[in-house]
């Protein structure tokens, strides 16, 4: 069937084109196949990036398309890098990024380690643990607002039960000191399963023979963990950190749904601030500069991280 299709296609090709195609080198044919992808990449990724860099040097406002675009040089960058408000959003982002990564890696790895043990109901527990990851961030944000309700929230009751505090005496998303932790807890609940899955893949890729050899050498469980398990899972763990790090650096939906950036600005992450500048205040040039700063930061971090990851893989 396939053969006849190819034959029919060959017969249907006009003689002139067929002659030209026959004369093409393998390299040219490869380029013909790759060209659509390269074109798409240029159109969807590279061009917008270059255009954003250009706009970052202008005072362009997308809601006033007929106004003349004025070249402002580095003024947008100077304003952003001198703005204490944006500085505080960067700190909020760093706090969120650091703690979500620490908690997700610790809990995710522990869960993977436990799930990797052979016990009854292993698969069922894996499915249950993975469930939060399958939900939409908007849905997760919405129901965590209910869980955090001081009057009816289950979270407050659970904390009250453990600590003996009155559940109505504190508000996770209304308190300036608790709100940053509220978004960290919700994100950790949602994305720890992702880290767990990657760690589980790493743990299952370790051959049993290595542990058997270690047992023969009378290595303790503790030593086996530090010299076999952890080094062999490390590349997987680093990948999980890279994915979650990039994802959480641009975290938006969950936090907007949960706290809306409040109270005050304590949970306004850089992506939320950027969206406000771009699509509420319509300062396109300014927000383009903001975007370039975030892009360079993520790109730089990802570069050194990928280099470190390659080094770990080579070991």
């Amino acid at each position: 069937m396939t053969h006849s299709l190819i034959e029919r296609a060959a017969e249907g090709t006009p003689p002139g084109i067929a002659q030209k195609l026959r004369g093409l080198s393998d390299r040219s044919i490869a380029w013909i196949f790759v060209a659509p992808t390269i074109f798409l990449l240029l159109a969807v990724n590279i061009f917008p990036l270059i255009w954003t860099v250009y706009l970052s040097f202008t005072d362009y406002r997308v809601n006033r398309p007929n106004r003349d675009i004025e070249w402002v040089g580095l003024a947008n960058y100077e304003r952003i890098l001198g703005d204490a408000g944006i500085w505080s959003t960067m700190q909020a982002t760093a706090h969120f990024l650091l703690w979500t990564l620490v908690l997700q890696v610790l809990i995710g790895f522990t869960l993977a380690y436990l799930i990797n043990k052979k016990f009854r109901g292993n698969d069922m527990w894996t499915t249950i643990i993975v469930l939060p990851m399958m939900l939409s961030p908007a849905v997760v944000g919405n129901f965590w607002t209910f869980l955090y309700q001081p009057q009816i929230g289950l979270f407050n009751y659970a904390v009250g039960f453990v600590t003996g505090k009155d559940p109505a005496s504190f508000s996770m998303i209304g308190d300036v000191s608790l709100a940053p932790w509220a978004i960290i807890i919700a994100d950790t609940w949602m994305w720890t399963p992702f880290v767990m899955l990657i760690c589980l893949a790493g743990l299952r890729s370790i051959p049993d023979s290595i542990y058997e050899a270690a047992e023969c050498d009378r290595a303790s469980k503790w030593r086996q963990f530090w010299t076999i398990t952890l080094p062999l899972v490390l590349p997987f763990l680093m990948l999980a950190i890279l994915f979650r790090g990039i994802e959480n650096f641009k975290m938006f939906d969950l936090v907007v749904q949960l706290t809306g950036g409040g109270p005050g600005n304590v949970t306004t992450l850089s992506s939320i601030d950027l969206k406000r500048e771009a699509f509420e205040k319509w300062r396109t040039g300014y927000s383009s500069a903001y975007g370039v700063i975030l892009f360079v930061t993520v790109f730089g971090l990802a570069s050194i991280y990928v280099k470190a990851l390659n080094k770990v893989k080579e070991r």
């Binding site: 890098l81 001198g82 204490a84 760093a94 360079v296 930061t297 570069s303």
Partner: protein, 62 residues
């Protein structure tokens, strides 16, 4: 230390990548630290320098 400096002078990838990585990490810490606005102001320049350097020096010989 001498090996590192020699590598820099002979335009070897390893030490230059190390230098670029340090600059990027320093820039990111400056961007997100809560202590001095001046450090935040200069953070982007440091990160950008490190990132551009990293892209360039990754083409240096080993």
């Amino acid at each position: 230390m001498t090996g590192f400096l020699n590598g820099l002078l002979r335009l070897r990838r390893g030490p230059w990548e190390m230098l670029a990585s340090i600059l990027i990490a320093l820039g990111v810490v400056m961007l997100m630290q809560p202590f001095a606005l001046a450090l935040y102001t200069w953070s982007f320049l440091v990160t950008l320098t490190g990132t551009v350097m990293f892209v360039v020096v990754s083409h240096f010989p080993e």
